[in-house]
Symmetry: C2
Subunit: 465 residues, 2 copies
């Protein structure tokens, strides 16, 4: 669906204001030229009044002041890989792409990376690796996603149980607040300003520069793949690993239909059919690979207790790459096979993970919908996918199934979003997750920091009143 | 000095509202009975209109709503060990002591402590130790300070370089916001609410329950004391230790006059005279004490390079206790010897620590004041003490010297408060440390979360307009 913007007035003002950027080929008003910018990974689309490829912090300051003064919605866009609609111009206005502000400076001595907001997560990792350093947060879309998008959603990733999420690596950043002031904030800034901004989904301020903490590159990891006949066996393996105190750097789960999608998308993916698959990586800091091997052995022993139909320690780089690429491509595979999908990322305590998986299986059966799931078993973050079916409009059925998933997640004490954010896709459910004092508190913060509600409006909150 | 409160109206209303608490012996209106509650460690005092020893969260909710409705200042008080005047009733109003809400529940399985806001930091540590667990943050006043006071100031302590500050150990807490609503917040609460509250000096909300993360008890530590003829030698030792990547669990510095005060206060403290003293503790997680011994050896080797006049590895528990008690008592010793003192806790990067120490020495010489310093060398946090002299009113001279100290600290890129907070003693300097956008942002947060400005008013900000 594409919602048209009706603010002729905004369009006229923006055309006037962005004339010189248009001459530079950086401002656009007709989206036939840039159709991919009106949507994101949700496949929902909204038409902004204008699109600007921003180049610098001073330009962004002017933009913020102009949009505030003219009451024009301002939406920042990273790579559009988000699954909650955070980068969509729901109320029209100016969509600003930060993809050209992508400089990356690695300082090996202080083990930091100073990057532009549009730097690609995977490029930061690669630059760090070139200095034998490492940037751990790796959302599945890390080869495309931008760092500012990661900050806006406080993205996690496959390694987050062991290494933490985006927030844990941000030393400081420069932001422009809704009143058009620019300032540097860090962990020592009073009133927890850094934590306030990270995860605020573009509704409170704009990131213009980010300084990240890097760590020493871990030793080369061991990769293990295990397939089971019953999803409950895989769940027991995860529980045993956690209670044994083993912390793999990655511990990913896929259900039967996710495995099928992966196999269909790439038959040469190294993965056997089965009810459930676990994919592990173990690593260790520094060059000592003994710990990684020892942990891999422990994981293999635990897997063997539950009669895996496949259990392999990857032998070489090429086998590892094949397995991880199957996992990294899973989201695309599901989308491709299912002819579109709605993806939700619910999260429960690891101890409730088996119940959640069982519920998804049951939900698929009772609803008659094609639903599959995969995710980060170590921290209970499950990506549940509702697949489109050709020739049928199963939208309303999917909507009902999503509600049931959310209700079950909250019943299990979980949260509606592990790392994708609330955006527009979950804002109708936020009142179910947070109590009234918490919601009021959040609304008050939004209202006080952006009184005219022009920064990424209509996100997170169903209403601001 | 004692400032009288002039709000007869508030007093009358509070007497009416607190009648039943008065009958229980929990509410007081005459401070002759409780003279210690009108002041804190700054020795400045202000008269509140009433003092209540609170007993429960429901009572605190009523109190917050009553004070808000009647526009009566509400000040929460832990143990009054603060050095920034945070617990003083600057504008009169109701002073609430939380010291009776001091329950401590240790859960060994989840390694957590759930405690009341008035639980004494040292009692939490002791309770944790009884379960072979450990609560690391240890402000010098930990034997008296309350946990809610620690949260309000985000207190650090001797071990903070290795183990982090209070904030790093708070899993969740229950708070009452200025609108009288109670809610639970944790690290996952949106908009970084937990980080917003920790360190907000009682100006944004009230803590009613706190859940703390505990760690496994480290092995028994090694204690080393080293005395040098020149302060610059001690500073070089610190620099060498940091650049060698050694992280002692404690690394404390004392200057010549601080050593003198300690010796005068307790001649049997195990400390020799000298220009500078360093006191180290090394430890390691678990029961393996090899790392602690190895680090102690490395520290001794580095100290020896700078010709210490005393260098000892404490031989037994009693010697360790004696040395640490000298350090823990230092603040009292300085106050006692100097007949009162003004204590500031400035903080610079460890690399600028030597310059800061040299400046304090020079400031003492040029001002003619008795000034000494001690502090946490590992994280550049220096407690600078301006001593009172009997028979002289050197207040204005001290004020000028403090200004010079603050200016120098900022010139060195430092911060005016490592862990004591802004309170009233530093609020006139906050505009020197933070830029206008940051200050405006903080004021906006305060104004939006406490629009009637009744929660600990007149703290942090010189003005709120």
């Amino acid at each position: 669906m594409t919602m048209p913007s009706e603010n002729i007035n905004h369009a006229t003002k923006l055309k006037e204001a962005l004339r010189s950027a248009q001459a530079d080929g950086r401002a656009f008003f007709d989206f036939a030229e840039h159709p991919e910018y009106i949507k994101d990974a949700t496949e929902i689309s909204f038409l902004p009044d204008a699109l600007l490829f921003a180049e610098s912090e001073p330009e962004l300051i002017d933009i913020v002041r102009f949009c505030k003064a003219n009451d024009i919605p301002l939406i920042l866009r990273g790579a559009g890989t988000g699954y909650s609609g955070g980068a969509l111009a729901v109320k029209g206005g100016l969509l600003v792409s930060i993809e050209r502000m992508n400089q990356i400076d690695i300082d090996s001595k202080s083990k930091t990376a100073t990057v532009g907001p549009g730097a690609i997560t995977g490029d930061i990792l690669e630059a760090a690796q070139n200095s034998n350093l490492f940037y751990p947060p790796d959302p599945a879309s890390y080869l495309d996603s931008t760092i500012a998008g990661n900050l806006a959603e406080n993205a996690g990733g496959l390694r987050c149980k062991k290494y933490g999420v985006t927030k844990d690596y941000v030393i400081s950043c420069r932001i422009i607040t809704a009143d058009g002031q620019v300032k540097a904030i860090d962990a020592g800034s009073p009133f927890g300003q850094l934590d306030l901004m990270i995860g605020s989904e573009g509704t409170l301020a704009i990131f213009t520069e980010i300084k990240l903490r890097l760590i020493d590159h871990p030793c080369e990891g061991k990769t293990i793949v295990a397939v089971f006949d019953k999803a409950s066996d895989a769940a027991m393996v995860v529980a045993d690993i956690i209670s044994a105190g083993i912390v793999p750097s990655i511990m990913e789960f896929m259900d039967r239909d996710a495995i099928n999608c992966s196999n269909q998308f790439d038959p040469d993916n190294g993965i056997d059919e089965g009810a459930a698959l676990l994919l592990f990586e173990t690593d260790a800091t520094g060059s000592d690979s003994q710990q990684a091997s020892a942990e891999a052995d422990q994981i293999i022993t635990i897997c063997n207790k539950y009669h895996p139909t496949l259990l392999r320690l990857a032998e070489d780089e090429s086998e590892k790459r094949k397995l991880w690429s199957a996992r990294r491509n899973l989201s695309n595979a599901v989308k491709h096979v299912g002819q579109g999908k709605l993806s939700e990322d619910v999260c429960v305590l690891p101890s409730r993970f088996p119940e959640l998986i069982a519920f998804v299986e049951q939900l698929s059966e009772t609803s008659g919908l094609r639903i599959n799931c995969f995710g980060h078993a170590g921290d209970g973050n499950l990506h549940v996918n509702f697949l489109g079916q050709p020739g049928t409009d199963n939208g309303p059925m999917i909507e009902r199934a999503v509600v049931r998933l959310f209700e079950k997640t909250l019943e299990l004490g979980g949260t509606l979003t592990g790392e994708h954010g609330i955006g527009i896709t979950k804002k109708d459910f936020i009142e179910k997750e947070f109590d009234i004092p918490t919601l009021n508190f959040m609304k008050r913060l939004k209202t006080c920091l952006d009184p005219s509600n022009f920064l990424n409006p209509d996100k997170i909150f169903p209403t601001l009143s």
